[in-house]
Structure formats: C-alpha cells, structure tokens
C-alpha cells in the first residue's frame, strides 16, 4: 500500500482543513478507503472521515449494525429532522465526552467508490455518526457544535494535560499597533493646533501649525495603509486572532482616517482662512 496510515489526534491543526470532493474514482481512492478501514479496525472506531487520517478528501466510512462498512464518497445531508442531544466520543479527542445536539433522522446523497450517486436515510446512532464524520470533512470537530464557552472550557481542560494547540495561540502584542500609536500621537497634536488661535499666536506660528496639519492628514492615511498591509502579513501567522481580522483592522483604519479628515477640514477653516 502506498498511502500512509495515520490517525490524527488532538492537537493537530490538520483536522481543520476542509476536505475536497473526490474527483477521481481510481486505485488511489480504493487504497485510501482500505487504509481507513484498517485504522477503524485497529481503533475500534464506529466511523472515520478521511481527514482523520490526514487525507483531505470527502470520504466517510461508517460501521453499520451488521458490522459491514458503509463507504460514503462526497456525502451531503439533504434533509434532517428532530434535534436530539446525546453524549459523544470521537477518536480525535480520545478522552473527551461531550453532549452534542444532532438530528435524529437524516437523508443524504453520496457516491460509491465507483462514482455512482445514491441516496439513503439514516436514523439514531448511525445518523449521529454520519453527521459527526461529515462535520470533519468540512473542517469541523464536535466542538464546532457547542458554545464558545463550552469549547474554551474543554480546551482549558486539555491544556492542563499539556495538550495545547499551537495555532490557537493569539499574540497579546503586535508590531502593527505601532502604526496606530504613531497615528494617534499625530492626530492628538493636530487636534491641539485647532485651539492655537485661542492663545494669540502669531500669523507665522499659525501658518506653521497649518503646514503641520497639511502634512499630518496624508501621513496618517499612509500610516493606516501601512498598518493594514503589515497587519495582514502579520495575521497570516495566527489563524484564530480576532484582532487580526480584516474587519477590525478596517475599523481601526476608518476611525483614524475619518478623524484626520475632520481635523484637516477644521484646520482649513480655523488656521487656513
């Protein structure tokens, strides 16, 4: 067999890779399925998604009541009914049991190993396993089905046992904030210049302050562009960093650009006239 046999267990961020649909129904597919069956047998598993063995393909195997293995290639759940919560275990989190809501009955379409399309109905434990395995093919574990608080509690408990997912570490400091810091300082001083006339400043001083504002506005815009570009580069390292999200960065940019524009307009009327 040329395919590598492996079982992915927590923490391994490959589990979050979305699986792609199988396009070629050939020997390689058969080998991956055979390997998955071996992994299932060795671990006493009731079901397995290909990504749990490191192969990001849309393949799910589940054990039926008679012990035979059902091969589901490119499965899609079309219909579902009756949400029921029940305690689940999964090979990816070997020591975790958690209550997960899933549908009691599902109807799905799938292809067999030769690419022929079928549809079936499943209920009870079979439906539950199929749903859990299909979630894996979309890059989600059973923790994707619980609240953020519950998920964090589970990850905290796992961390106590020395299991910490590397990719989930979000930086508490970031170099891109220097761009914000410099912009804020420029904006602060630009804001102060608006009050210069209250202090009986000379024409020359007012002119100098106005020049400072005229340079300040484009400088803040340039700094914000730099902040965004640098921030996106920096964010690539942290998949779960909320402050690295584009929306947050655009919000930070927008606030400062609007402030610079407002002060610029104010300076035009107060100092420029």
């Amino acid at each position: 067999m040329s395919v590598k046999k492996e079982l992915i267990v927590y923490p391994d961020d490959r589990i979050n890779i979305p699986s792609t649909d199988v396009r070629k129904f050939d020997e390689t597919l058969f080998e991956v399925i055979d390997m998955m069956k071996e992994v299932m047998e060795e671990n006493g598993a009731e079901g397995l998604a290909a990504i749990q063995t490191g192969y990001p393909y849309n393949i799910v195997l589940v054990k039926e009541a008679d012990g035979s293995i059902l091969e589901l290639i490119n499965p899609r759940i079309l219909k579902s009914e009756g949400l029921v919560s029940k305690t689940e275990k999964t090979l990816y989190y070997p020591d975790i049991e958690i209550e997960i809501p899933r549908y009691e009955t599902i109807k799905l379409i799938y292809e067999d190993r030769f690419g022929k399309q079928h549809h079936m109905e499943a209920s009870g434990d079979l439906a539950r396993i199929i749903q859990r395995k299909i979630d894996y093919t979309f890059g989600g574990t059973f923790l994707s089905k619980v609240s953020k608080e519950r998920r964090e509690a589970v990850e905290k408990a796992l961390a106590k046992n020395g299991l910490v997912p590397e990719v989930e570490l979000c930086p508490t400091t970031s170099k891109r904030v220097y761009f914000l810091s410099v912009s804020d300082k420029i904006l602060f001083f630009m804001f102060l210049t608006l009050f210069a006339k209250l202090f009986d400043a000379s024409e020359e001083t007012l002119s100098t302050l106005y020049t400072f504002d005229k340079i300040g506005v484009p400088l803040v815009i340039v700094l914000m562009i730099g902040y965004f570009v640098f921030g996106r580069w920096e964010a690539k390292k942290y998949s779960s960093c909320t402050s690295c999200q584009i929306g947050n960065m655009l919000g930070s940019m927008a606030k400062r650009i609007v402030a610079a524009a407002a002060i610029g307009v104010g300076a035009y009327f107060v100092l420029g006239s």
Partner: protein, 486 residues
Amino acid sequence: MAKVVVLGAGVSGHTAATFLRDWLGPQHEVIVVTPNSKWNWIPSNIWVGVGQMTKEDVVFDLAPVYEKAGIDYRQAKAVSIHPEGGEAEDVPYVTIEYTGQGKEGEKELVAYDYLINATGPKLNFGATEGLGPDNGYTVSVCTADHATHANEELQKLIAKMKSGERQKIVIGTGHGMCTCQGAAFEYIFNVDHELRKAGVRDLAEITWISNESFLGDFGIGGLHMKRGGYAASSRLFAESLYTERGIPWIIGAHVNKVEEGKIHYEQLDGSTGELEFDFSMLIPPFSGVGLKAYAKDGSDMTDKLFAPNGFLKVDADYSGKPYEEWKASDWPKTYQNPDYPNIFAVGIAFAPPHGISKPMKSPNGTPINPTPPRTGMPSGIIGKTVAMSIRDMIEKNSDKPTHHASMAEMGAACVASAGKGLTDGMAASLTVYPVVPDFEKYPGIGRDIDYTFGEIGLAGHWIKHILHHMFIYKAQLKPGWTLIPE
C-alpha cells in the same frame, strides 16, 4: 481612427468603456449601447428590497456621465452581431434597436473596429413556470425596479403581520442552475432583521430554499469563516446562523414550478415537495440575452459565436470535459473570441467553460448545482483588463491581447449584510482566492486557504456602506475615479 463599441453598461461594460475613453485619444470613438438609461449599483438593491434605500439611492443617469466623458451613448438594445459585415457593408457591425432618447423602436447599424459584449445576463424567469415579478408570483431583487417592488410587497406583508396574521416567507434560488446564492442569503437575513425591527418576527415562518448541495456553499464550494476567534466551515457557520434565527432550510433543490402561494421543487435525491408562501423572493437563473450572429451572406451563425446558453465564446476550453478533468487553465485569460479577434466578452456575458461547483443531478436527471458566479469584482477586473488589451491593440498595434485576467488567478470579495445599521446588526465579509479552484496549484480544495475565508461582524456593514458610495462615485467619473480599484 478606431471605433470601439461596448454592448452593455453594467459593472464590466461601464468599466471597459470609461477606461478606454480615458486612455484613447479623441481621434478614437467609444460607443456604448445599452437599453438602460440608468446605471445601477446592484449590491445595494438588497437594501432597496427591504426599504432601507430607495431606487434613487442606487442608480444614476448615464447620459450626463457619458456626455461629460465624451462617450457616444445610444440607449438601445443590441439585436445582432455581423462580424464579417453584410452584403451591403464591408465592415463588421451590430444592429441595435433604440429603447430611449426619443427614438424608441428605431433600428440602426453601428459599425465597429472592436466590439466588447458586456450585455450581462438575461434574467431567465421563463426557465421556471410562475417565477418572477412580471409573469409569475415571486419577487426579485435583481434590478432596482424589482427591488422596489419587492419592498412594496414586503411592507404589505408586514402590515398584515401587524394586524396579527401569520405569514409564510420563502427566499432562495428559483431554479436548479442558479448562481448568486449570496444575494439571496443576504436578502433573507435583511428580511429577518426588518421583521425583528417591526416586532413581527414571531408571526413569520421564513424558509430558505436553494440549489446548493450544502448550506454555506455560496456557489463557490464553501469557505472557512472566522467568528469570535474561531475558524469554522461556512456550512457549520451557516447552519448555526439559520438555526439561531429560526430559519429552516431546503437544499439541493430545483424549483420547477411556482403557483400562486405554492412552490414545487425536486431535490437531489429525486424526491419532490411543495412549499406554501405569502411572499417569496427567488433568484432566477441567468442566460445570454439572445443576441443573434450573422455571416456576411446573411446566414445565421449564432451557434459559432455563442455557446448554447447564449453567452459569447471566448478563449476558454469548451470541449465539455468531465468534472475530474476540469482545470484552471480551461478558463479564459484574454476574453477574446477565437474566431473574430476584434470581439471580446466581459462580465457575465462570456461563456464559462464549465461550472465551478461539483455538477450534480437528481436520479430523474435534473441538474441541480450552482452555476459559476461572474459578477461584481471579477466583472470589473475583466472589463478593465480587456480595455487595456484593446488600448494596446489600437495604440501599439499589438496583434493580440496584451493583458490577462483569468478567474483562476483572481480573487474576489463579497459582503453579505443583515441590516444596514452602522452600530447594530452583523455582516459576513468573504474573500475567495482564486475564484476558480486551481487543483494543481493548491492541492486539496483548489484555493489558497489563507485568502479564502469569511469574517462575521458589524464592520461588514461599514464596508458595504463604503463600497456603495465609493463605487457610485467611481462610476460617475468624479475626480480621482481612476484611482479607485475595481
């Protein structure tokens, strides 16, 4: 002197025409032929459809803009293309029929040296019996007028609910071969938001129906979303979002008939079903606008110039290869017609070589899968790219297009709002790279995962507001418009 004729003034046609006018000297002519008198920023039609904007907020008159730019504007629909000229004409030309400018119904021949087909799609409501606002029972948000009508119907519905009547709402796609699931997704959450604001959400049963084989496919095979610090698949995200909002879903569905108050559909497993509705917005499938093409001797050669779906053939691989052999290189790069090098097609008007999503059929043989999206950002980029090539072919005498913009090398961004507020609501901001998966370059899902993701948050509303004003500003050719990217 060269004469460039652009058929259509949507995102791609307007982009191509305005840049060409800006780049080419006054000795060259740029003619725009479009049946519409107004330009429409289509993404904001969603807000018109729920009464948060008016038609006037999302359209502007084309005539003054083109007059200022020096573009010869003809408010007319294109009828036929004659790439070899005709019996009495030695030069290629198009025939047009006026729809405005006081010449309604008049026909005219317009000769060209270069032709850009940017007609966009025909909203093919006729593909499903009973679909659409004109001859059917559903509303649409595809045009500003449709969206205005959709809002009128929605307000009547809200009034009924305020008087205590329960109402059924169905939103989604109206055929198995639709695209633009994102627009329907955005509309359903805007409607949900408006009903909550009106205090009548508990009286509405809202249902989603679409041709996606999984919720969150969005016509591009899905993507990863970030929310609250965690990344999750768009399917898990969408399922949780629909569940939170109390919206059940029907997927893998081909709507085959709409009657008054009733939708009939078939699903990928071959089963059929019915859905009752009091208000329904279903996106129609797209097809070519029905342009004909004629050879010099007057014989019909529409099949040579156009694909069977009515879109114009360009430099793509139309060999009809099976799904497992689809490649990124099948997609066009220059958008030049292989038989007539002076004809290009941009935006939705070019014929895609095949789909992006996995092709699927029900056991009855009904195809049910999203067709490739070519709207918005890709349309603008393609329009500008073709304009650059034509500019170089005219001014530098290039014998072939000089610029490429394959959708397999291009990213796209999309914002789906759920409300319009600057301080409340939330939106999904999505980026995809590349639009067409490249399975050779990116083994696995065929896309760069770093650049294919979505984010959930209020900032999406701000982005949508910014895009609305920025692109209308750009399209009106106001100072600095060329600096605003597509």
